[in-house]
């Protein structure tokens, strides 16, 4: 039997789609002009960049002049948060509000700002992995410069009450940034309606290549330039445009946002099928709210089976997935997200994240549902932790 290959790590990155690839290819070949050049070859590249800017703006309900292309989502996050902090510090506002379970592009940026003397409030996200609007309101002070809260969590897929937070920040006159890297294409976004002042997104999560991102900045939000140099990105983020990747991102976001309800209708039943099937494994739990989560996100813990060992075993069966165990974070601590929703180290070490999308089919789902229980059982059979649990020598709270 041919070994089945199932890519189920779409929150890590996605495959470049054929439509996106075909769109970008000419700009790697014959369309190699510099978008700033005056002759036709350059002008065409310039027009292509502006078309992509409009595609991004349309997908977000923004104006093209509010879209800035960057190198990645992390760059957008850094620029937004550091830029807002530095801009508003001059007005005596040196307080930032975020959550404990942001992506490290936000968390480490906030920590860097703390070293500079900024004060950061890290809001809890409770057992369901969702921040409470009331907590945001309570945390806002006279000197609060920025609220930055992710749209959807990258590990457990929980969707945050962005519209309510946006309305609150508008009312309180505080800038609001959201890292929407995981959300774009999975939830309808309208930056105007939702009172979002700044938004980060990344191309490679929506079938564009790696190395291209966007920061949306509402008209009127002025922060220090990220890269001083030429006049690219209206002088705020200089550097010759990555034309092919910008074109790819434009096409990718257009495709990602053209039928979000259709994607949810197709993918979420597959997600639920996986969750329901794997929940039958004893001593397992679902991490994060079951309803308010991304359509393709499965995050579960299986006590007594370690996450990295799960991933390697799944890889042997042709399945690509990820985990929040310490062994996969490169440190000895398991994922900060899983700890933030109250998991013990023991339970967090046994976590598995499966992120599917519209490229997956029922056969993929069946392969996952068949393989995961076998792998968990195999690892538990050789696990002294599981042995202790079965002999009632150990208690673990799920």
């Amino acid at each position: 039997m041919m070994k089945r290959f199932v890519y189920a790590d779409n929150s890590a990155t996605t495959k470049i789609s054929d439509a996106v690839f075909n769109e970008m290819l000419p700009w790697l070949k014959e369309g190699y002009g510099n978008a700033s050049s005056i002759y036709a070859l350059g002008r065409e590249a310039g027009f292509a960049v502006e078309r992509a800017r409009k595609q991004v703006a349309d997908a977000l309900g923004a104006q093209p002049s509010e879209i800035y292309f960057t190198g990645c989502g992390s760059e957008s996050d850094n620029w937004a948060v550091k830029g807002a902090a530095h801009k508003l510090a001059a007005k005596g506002k040196k307080h930032i509000i975020t959550t404990v379970f942001e992506h490290h592009a936000i968390l480490h940026t906030c920590q860097a700002l703390e070293k500079e003397g900024f004060e950061v409030t890290y809001l809890p996200v409770y057992e369901n992995g969702i921040v409470r609007v009331q907590d945001v309101e309570n945390a806002i002070r006279e000197d609060t410069a920025l609220v930055t809260i992710m749209y959807a969590n990258n590990e457990i897929g929980t969707i945050q009450p962005i519209s309510q937070i946006g309305a609150l920040c508008r009312e309180k006159n505080v800038w609001f940034h959201t890292d929407a890297v995981q959300a774009v294409g999975n939830v309808p976004i309208d930056v105007k309606e939702q009172n979002i002042d700044m938004l980060s997104l990344s191309g490679h999560k929506i079938h564009a290549p790696k190395g291209i991102g966007v920061l949306y900045m509402k008209k009127g939000i002025v922060i220090p330039n990220l890269i001083d140099g030429g006049g690219q990105e209206r002088g705020r983020r200089a550097g010759t445009e990555n034309v092919a990747s910008i074109v790819a991102l434009g096409k990718a976001i257009e495709l990602a946002c053209e039928d979000i309800p259709g994607r949810i209708a197709k993918v979420s039943p597959m997600r639920d099928k996986i969750i329901d099937a794997l929940s039958k494994i004893p001593y397992s739990r679902v991490n994060g709210d079951r309803e308010r989560r991304l359509n393709g996100n499965v995050n579960m813990s299986f006590i007594g089976a370690e996450g990295e060992a799960l991933l390697l075993s799944l890889d042997l069966a042709g399945i690509c997935a990820s985990s929040g165990s310490a062994c996969t974070t490169g440190s000895l601590d398991p994922s900060h997200v899983l700890l933030a929703i109250g998991l013990s180290h023991e339970v967090a070490h046994g976590s598995l994240r499966i992120t599917i999308n519209e490229d997956n089919d029922q056969a993929d789902i069946d392969h996952i549902i068949q393989t995961v229980p076998q792998v968990v059982e195999k690892l538990r059979a050789m696990s002294p932790m599981w042995e202790d649990l079965m002999k009632n020598k150990k208690e673990v709270k799920l």
Partner: protein, 142 residues
């Protein structure tokens, strides 16, 4: 994580997995909090380790280091088993990523803990022979 083929080989089909119900020594090291627990069972005959089994909760490297460490001490004299070092384990696996070296330390300690238990059961104080089995440094920093 860039594992060597040897690590992946031992992970995919670990040697000497299981328990020895009539073990002469059992050692358990590590803890669930840091994500690695190794339990090693040894059978001793005529000063030689005649059989060895292990159970491990942990990552790929933890399972591979347990597997190869049991291979390395199986049939060896107690003296030689006591000389097993974590660097010998790393070498036998064609190297380990830096963040995984602590797993090899755990494997060395599991062997020593099993031998210490063997001595204790013989009514011999193991400390002068086996030495102190400290906490793995990595865990210590938690």
């Amino acid at each position: 994580m860039l594992y060597s083929d040897k690590v992946l080989e031992h992970f995919a089909a670990p040697h000497n997995v299981g328990e020895l119900p009539d073990a002469d020594g059992v050692g358990e090291v590590g803890n669930a909090k840091c994500g690695d627990i190794m339990k090693m069972y040894i059978k001793v005959d005529d000063g030689k380790i005649s059989d060895v089994k292990f159970k491990t909760f942990g990552c790929g490297a933890a399972i591979a280091t347990s597997s190869i460490a049991t291979d390395m001490i199986k049939g060896a004299s107690i003296e030689d088993a006591l000389k097993l070092t974590n660097s010998a384990v790393v070498e036998a696996l064609d190297g380990l990523p830096a963040s995984k070296v602590h797993c090899s330390v755990l494997a060395e300690q599991a062997v020593k803990a099993a031998l210490a238990d063997y001595y204790r059961k013989q009514g011999v104080d193991p400390t002068p022979i086996v030495g102190e089995i400290g906490e793995c440094e990595a865990c210590h920093n938690l």
